[in-house]
């Protein structure tokens, strides 16, 4: 996205401490990316922990992965990829001043997030029902676990998907806020920084899921 189309005449949105819209846009974008770096590092650290213990107990992890339904995970992956697509489209549409369509695209994005969370909810409750609680709460008798520390796999599973799910919820909240502002007419071809910022956040959340899916569902 080039910044050349920002003209200095539309300065209504420029905050007091910025000289012009370009400076504001560049700062905002850099800020978002820096924040994304912290998100990636945070998930990165769990992945390191996952890697270490997967290396130590590959058979146990494979037993855990077998308990998950990869088909549900796969559907969720598709849902999120599609939502990333609609998110990207909404920015394009706002840049072309097609506000109504952009609002539609945002609404679809929220819907996809909701579908993701519903599927996740059913996965979790199903696991609880089967006795696959995290860590020491795992019901050894009910689950017929081969590995005494299978609970650790589910510890990772719930921590990673839970933290990710929390990000999806936050993302949905932010996109709802965007939707309201879009309908209100705050965004147009000269001003769309918040949409782009939340968009970047949403893409990163998707990207993290694309790492989590094979690691949790397909491993072993």
């Amino acid at each position: 996205m080039s910044t050349d189309n920002i003209t200095h005449t539309h300065s209504a949105h420029v905050s007091h401490h910025f000289k012009d819209a370009t400076q504001e846009y560049d700062s905002g974008k850099q800020g978002i990316w820096l924040f994304m770096v912290t998100e990636i590092l945070m998930f990165g650290a769990v992945l390191v922990g996952y890697g270490i213990f997967h290396h130590l107990y590959p058979a146990m992890f494979s037993e855990g992965a077998k308990q998950l339904d990869w088909k549900l995970g796969f559907i969720n992956t598709l849902v999120l990829i599609f939502s990333s697509f609609t998110m990207a489209i909404s920015i394009q549409l706002i840049q072309r001043n097609q506000i109504k369509k952009a609002a539609m695209a945002l609404a679809v994005t929220i819907l996809c997030g909701a579908i993701f969370m519903v599927i996740k909810y059913f996965e979790w409750t199903h696991k609880f029902h089967m006795g696959f609680y995290p860590g020491r709460f795992l019901d050894m008798a009910k689950t017929h676990a081969e590995h005494a520390n299978l609970g650790m796999y589910f510890g990772f599973y719930y921590c990673m998907t839970g933290l990710h799910g929390l990000h999806v919820l936050i993302g949905m909240g932010l996109i709802t806020w965007l939707l309201i502002r879009t309908i209100r007419g705050d965004f147009h071809s000269q001003y769309w920084i918040p949409v782009e910022g939340v968009g970047i956040f949403w893409h990163i959340v998707d990207l993290i899921w694309i790492f989590l899916f094979p690691l949790l569902y397909l491993v072993g």
């Binding site: 800020g31 650290a45 020491r136 709460f137 589910f154 921590c159």
Partner: protein, 536 residues
């Protein structure tokens, strides 16, 4: 801005009135002051804890009365944990960046504010919320894990690990947001002519610190979340009973907390660079070396965490590698020391109180530095690890370094922040007490450590009594020093003479605007044509 607001006596303090205008302000200067008040409050609480610890250690437990100030080991351990956690997470880490950095980084760059003023305010609320969570543990089951939260102790203890850890997590968010703001501000909001190489070294130090805050804090955040999950749901990652690894926690923890040591000391080095140049009226020696050694320290500091774990059971090879890299990180630190001393050479040195604190910093940091090198040497560390030698070392760096610089910086910028002068006599007196008291308190602890007294001990064998007594007496001198300092500050704010625009004759941008600065820092946006230390 067409008119000059400061000409009418309007400044950032009196432009709006009422508590609400402070709580909702997005002015970086006001946020800096709000941080100042909260950090001072927490410093007071943490300080009282320290005095209690020292009082308890005045005599072994067998001595009635003074040897049993704190009822038992549990109470001692709780006080010890609060002292550590409060001083680290609520005083030293936010100290210089959030108070002086918030106030002066935009002014140093000639900007009107930081890049994201609302996020800046949000970071203060994050900090307050996190601190509230941490303090809330005091009214539940308290906390006794030590500020390091080592597993499996933190999992097994009956105290409020989860609440404390969530508090630290939220304060970490605040730290990340401040860092993010600083990086973007430095990149995007510099005034015309303010190139990166014309930035004051304080800004360079804050910039390096901000990078560390951004890169290291997320790892601490997730580690603390996993620890909370471990405690609540027994996920098993750090729990040996489930095949987890308690030492992994230490790796994760120090991966943040070693860079955090530099989060604490780099801003102090920045302040000292400013003070030495200003009070020697001389261009800083080796500007580039100091600026880039900050970045160098920041980079290397990510690869030395294992030197906290030489006896933890990590492999001997890992120990050797970490020791080697730690030696490398010593070099840029030494360079800075030499540069500061060289800056004084052929200068015009005044002994105003901020300079005394800066010289005190050099003195104490030199000792903290050489003992740091000793601790990096493998077999020496095997003996000194977790003894009072380590306690003395990091107090020399954190208190003798960071706190000295914070005090010095505070007195240096006091006229700018409040538009008043403080009593020079009281400030000097405060320095004398703090400096002497500090050495009396902590130097004996080096010897105690060499003799083998382990840290976090509620009681000790009789050989250690004499030195512990000296140390406790020193803590009262420090207390006196800080009380005098507090009085000097309060008196200065209430009754101080009006401060001129540039009382010290320094060259950086904040001295080119009125004292206190107007709401938007400068009446006319400055255009920079030269470096920050052009004393010719």
């Amino acid at each position: 801005m067409g008119h000059s607001s400061s000409a009418h006596g309007e400044n950032y303090i009196n432009c709006e009135k009422g508590l609400w205008s402070w709580l909702t302000t997005v002015d970086h200067k006001r946020i800096g002051l709000m941080y100042m008040i909260t950090v001072m409050f927490f410093f007071f609480v943490g300080g009282v804890m320290a005095l209690l610890l020292r009082l308890e250690l005045f005599a072994p437990n067998t001595v009635q009365g003074v040897g049993q100030v704190l009822k038992n080991g549990d109470v001692y351990n709780q006080v010890l944990t609060y002292h550590g956690a409060i001083m680290v997470f609520m005083v030293i880490v936010p100290g210089i960046p959030a108070i002086l950095g918030n106030f002066f980084l935009p002014i140093h760059l000639g900007a009107k504010d930081v890049a994201f003023p609302k996020i800046n305010l949000a970071s203060w609320y994050c900090f307050m919320f996190g601190a509230a969570l941490a303090i809330a543990t005091f009214f539940t089951h308290k906390i006794d894990t030590g500020w390091t939260f080592y597993t499996p102790y933190s999992i097994r203890t009956g105290t409020s690990t989860v609440l404390m850890v969530l508090g630290a997590f939220v304060m970490g968010m605040s730290s990340v947001l401040t860092g993010l703001n600083f990086i973007v501000t430095v990149h995007k909001l510099r005034a015309p002519g303010m190139t990166m190489h014309r930035m004051p070294l304080f800004v360079w130090a804050l910039y390096s610190t901000a990078i560390l805050q951004m890169l290291a804090t997320p790892v601490l955040a997730i580690t603390l979340l996993l620890l909370a999950a471990e405690k609540l749901f027994g996920v098993g990652i750090f729990d040996p009973a489930l095949g987890g690894d308690p030492v992994l926690f230490q790796h994760f923890f120090w991966f943040y907390s070693h860079p955090a040591v530099y989060i604490m000391i780099l801003p102090a080095m920045g302040v000292v660079s400013e003070l030495i140049a200003a009070f020697s009226r001389k261009v800083i020696f080796g500007y580039t070396a100091i600026a880039y050694s900050s970045l160098g320290i920041a980079a290397v500091s990510f690869f030395v965490w294992g030197h906290h774990m030489f006896v933890s059971g990590q492999s001997a090879t890992a120990g050797i590698i970490f020791s080697f890299i730690t030696m490398l990180v010593g070099v840029p630190t030494a360079i800075k020391m030499f540069n500061w001393v060289a800056t004084i050479y052929k200068g015009s040195v005044s002994f105003d109180s901020p300079m005394l604190f800066a010289l005190g910093f050099l003195f104490l940091f030199a000792i903290g530095g050489v003992t740091g090198i000793m601790l990096a040497v493998l077999p020496i560390d095997v003996h000194f690890h977790d003894t009072y030698f380590v306690v003395a070392h990091f107090h020399y760096v954190m208190v003798g370094g960071t706190l000295m610089a914070l005090m010095g910086g505070f007195y240096y910028w006091f006229p700018k922040m409040f538009g008043k002068m403080f009593s020079e006599t009281l400030a000097r007196l405060s320095f004398v007490f703090i400096f002497i008291g500090f050495n009396v308190t902590f130097f004996p602890q080096f010897i105690l450590g060499a003799m083998g007294m382990p840290r976090r001990y509620f009681d000790y064998i009789p050989n250690y009594e004499a030195l512990n007594k000296i140390s406790t007496v020193g803590s009262w001198l420090i207390l006196t020093g800080f009380l005098i300092g507090l009085y000097a500050i309060v008196q200065g704010i209430r009754k101080g003479e009006k401060a001129p625009m540039n009382p010290w004759g320094a060259k950086t941008l904040e001295w080119q605007t009125s004292s206190p600065p107007p709401h938007f820092n400068f009446d006319v946006e400055p255009v920079v044509t030269a470096g920050p230390y052009e004393y010719r």
